[in-house]
């Protein structure tokens, strides 16, 4: 590794104990004060966690630090020097690298080209030196303990691996300050553990880490100090050793969140769904199958959780049940005793099966339709008056689920893209409730949603289940499954390796089954 940027500072300068100081930062957007007089002081070489709900201002603060935004007021000091970035290049030059929450990769380019995008190495004659970039890339990936081929097309990688490409990109900058904006939101437990080891290694080399996360266990394992933001204001900065996760989440939401357990005490109804010997082939892969010999039942009034690492086949299983997959599967699926074989999601809708997809922005939202249009989409026929759509009837139709799911919106005309992630997700659940489903498939419904909104979604899902829906829920977070599910199925590489009643399920037992070869 070449010299780090902060080593280049002349020794005559007084060395500040702070890698970064942000004093009195204020940032306004039209109609909103995103940051109001926020102060953040980060010691050199520490892991500093920043916690807060979505909209608390974490990402805005980090975008100011990395030069994406300029503050309206306040002072930014990097290594004790007053700094003013006019763009991300300035921040990179000052040794600050940021790994954004939303991946910013060019999917059609190979991995190595993405890592060196904008800083391509050139060899003789000024031509691209692909070999040296690929070699550097391989060595970065071996530091990260992962086996991504630098020549692979980036879009072909799983989300988890794409995140590692972003991390490799930051490492290749030799940054002295690395900002990670929810880096584990798309990672499996194994990948997260690998990332934690990388962070520890970076810290040992003297790098300062700013770490944004919703996951309290990670924050408490990694961080030396924690700063809590709420509604654009600084609430507290504390040493990790002197606080507790409960206290932090309390500061984040401004109230005490009791850890609810929703499972149990729900009356179990008739059998809705019976899956027997379900297999989904995968000819182009050495394993040969995406799913193999899956059998399970789902009853009304029951939440079945599906655990598994990324790539275990959770989404594929739900897609088969919803008729959304392209490949033909074998086995039997019986819905209320009748064998079914959905070839299109439309057929699943008609059979009263609903699915809330994994990637809200890509697979769920219609950015050009307003809140009412997004909610009413699947049940539009009910808004027909004399054969034509009536806007009044449509709003009337959408108002029900918007109210029932507790969507916070300035109105049914509001742009869906202006709502927070949690409220968008409620709109999508509301859309499906209008189809009057009996089976609700939820694919990682709380991904990227803040703590308070998660708790609201749990209450919502529990309430739906009590009304007699059968729910299948996947999640990348085990505590979520343990909170909600009556039974937990564990998938490992496409096979069902455990079916645990809630009473017998623990994080350790689930992880054991999920990693079973």
């Amino acid at each position: 590794m070449s010299q780090r940027t902060h080593d280049c500072i002349p020794s005559a300068m007084t060395i500040s104990p702070f890698a970064v100081r942000m004093l009195g930062i204020t940032k306004r957007f039209p109609g909103v004060v995103a940051l109001d007089d926020v102060t953040l002081e980060v010691h050199r070489g520490e892991v500093h966690a920043i916690c807060g709900e979505n909209g608390a201002g974490k990402s805005t603060l980090m975008k100011i630090l990395s030069g994406v935004y300029q503050p309206d007021a306040g002072v930014l000091e990097v290594d004790g020097r007053d700094t003013r970035f006019t763009g991300t290049r300035d921040a990179e030059r000052a040794g600050i690298a940021i790994i954004h929450q939303e991946l910013a990769l060019v999917e059609d380019l190979p991995v190595a080209a993405n890592v060196f995008l904008g800083r391509e190495r050139r060899g003789a004659l000024g031509l691209l030196d692909d070999r040296s970039m690929a070699e550097e890339c391989s060595s970065l990936f071996s530091q990260l303990d992962c086996a991504v081929d630098p020549g692979d097309r980036t879009g072909n990688l799983r989300v988890g691996d794409q995140q590692l490409v972003e991390i490799a990109k930051a490492l290749s900058l030799d940054a002295s300050i690395v900002v990670m904006d929810e880096p584990t939101s798309a990672l499996t437990e194994v990948e997260s553990a690998r990332l934690e080891r990388t962070i520890q290694r970076l810290v040992a080399q003297g790098t300062t880490i700013l770490y944004i996360s919703h996951k309290m266990d990670e924050v408490f394992r990694l961080a030396d100090r924690i700063t809590v933001l709420r509604d654009g204001r600084h609430v507290k900065t504390v040493d990790t050793t002197t606080t507790s996760p409960r206290e932090i989440t309390g500061w984040m939401v401004g109230r005490d969140i009791a850890g609810h357990d929703f499972h149990g005490s729900r009356p179990r109804g008739d059998k809705l769904l019976e899956v027997r010997g379900l297999s989904l082939p995968w000819p182009e892969h050495p394993r040969g199958y995406r799913l193999k010999d899956i059998s399970f039942d789902l009853h009304a009034g029951e939440i079945v959780g599906i655990a598994g690492l990324m790539g275990a086949g959770r989404t594929e299983l739900l897609e088969v049940l919803f008729g959304a997959g392209d490949d033909t599967w074998t086995g039997t699926i019986e819905l209320r005793g009748e064998p079914v074989r959905f070839r299109h999601p439309r057929e699943a809708c008609e059979a009263r099966v609903a699915m809330v997809t994994e990637d809200r922005k890509r697979l769920g939202l219609f950015p050009d339709l307003d809140v009412a249009g997004n909610v009413s989409l699947c049940a539009l026929r009910e808004a027909l008056r004399n054969g034509l759509l009536s806007r009044t009837a449509e709003e009337h139709l959408a108002a029900g689920p918007v109210r029932d799911t507790g969507v916070k919106t300035p109105g049914l005309h509001a742009a869906i893209t202006g709502l927070s992630g949690g409220n968008q997700q409620k709109c999508i659940i509301g859309r499906w409730l209008l189809t009057n489903p009996e089976v609700l498939l939820l694919d990682d419904p709380t991904r990227g949603i803040d703590v308070g909104a998660k708790a609201e979604l749990y209450t919502l899902i529990d309430g739906l289940c009590r009304k007699g829906l059968g729910v299948i829920l996947t999640s990348s977070e085990l505590p979520e499954l343990l909170t909600l599910a009556d039974r937990i199925l564990v998938l490992a590489e496409g096979r069902l390796t455990a079916e645990l009643p809630r009473a017998e399920a623990t994080e350790a037992r689930i992880m054991e089954a999920a990693t079973a070869g």
């Binding site: 935004y69 654009g232 919803f322 999601p345 809708c349 697979l363 769920g364 219609f366 300035p410 109105g411």
Partner: protein, 425 residues
Amino acid sequence: MTPPNDAHSRRSSEGSPAPQGSAAPRLRRTAWWGLRPAEWALVAAIVVAVLLTGVVDSNHSYFRLPWQSLTDILRNTALLGIFALGATVVIIAGGIDLSSGSMIALSGTIAATTMLALAPKEIMAFKPVGPAVVGVGVLAALLTGFLVGTLHTWLITAVRLPPFIATLATLVGLRSFARALCESCTLGVVGTKSAQINVSDPIFKAIRDNVWIPVAVFALLAVFTWLLLTRTVLGRHIHALGGNEQAARLAGIRTENVKWFAYCFGAMTAALAGLFYVANESVAAPVNQGRGHELNAIAAAVVGGCSLSGGVGTVPGTVLGAIFLRVVIDAVSKIIKTGADVYEGLIVGVVVVIAVTFSQLGALAKGGTRLLPGAIGLCAIPTLALLTGALAAMTAGRNGGIATGVGALFLLGLLRVWESRRSTT
């Protein structure tokens, strides 16, 4: 409905894909009834263009021959508007149809060859062929539109070609097919090859002589399309498909069928327009009829506010876009007098650029973006000055050209200096 909530509007500033600067959840500016602000601006632009032409035109034909000027513009607008509505539906559904110009040629050829086959003597003798034969010809042309739309949908959904490629193939293919069909039919029926077929049935003549027929067809089609897009489930599904195709499929929408409708609607409106082209010119001439007109239709839709990435667009916008394009083209032909058709493509190009730039004026005024940034901006100044200067020289003589070019250079230079000073302060 929940009242606006302060804590919430702050929350939404993050974690949502809303672009910078629109952090608060904005209420949609969509007017479900009436026009949107951008469409009112287009209305104003049309009025300004008409008034300017009336004053600048040295013949003052808008004052001397108002009726003839009006019918000219109406006929041209109706012809363009009919298939621009089809282009609008395709574009909102997230696709593109580059083939409508060739579809116009094919539709006319199909109608003419069908009539030639059914009534060869009458056609060759420029005599009436009778309503039954005309009806069969018209139906054949519309059916061809349906078949071409189906072909597009098949290429796009089953062969999985991008819409641009699929319709680029039919853009070149259909015109060639129409020419071959015209030649082989005339050879087969009459005995000599011909590149065009004269159509002089009184029904077609009546359509040529009565401007209100194409205008009424255009108006009816516009109302139908408007109802379809805003007030039917299919219309909503078209918007959803264009906005997010994968999400639409996962919401249980049969996206292939929606596409099928959109491409058939696009091709059939072009086929309908093709019949009016034949009536107007009393001839089916596949070599040149409708050549390049697909781009005028797309331009009308874009000027009217359609987004080429799909999901966005309105019928009133496209109607106004078509009127605006035709008014500007007419203005130039009035002002230049002779050989104005040479400039038609240039005008369409300039109008599209200006209309789309105009819609971003808000961002430019706020200082969020610069019109002439960096080295590109610097090089764009002489490029634009040369373009305007050359244009002025060709239309207003050498001295006028030099003066206009120098003036443009000076004004653009001022804009550049102003923008740089603003961004440094």
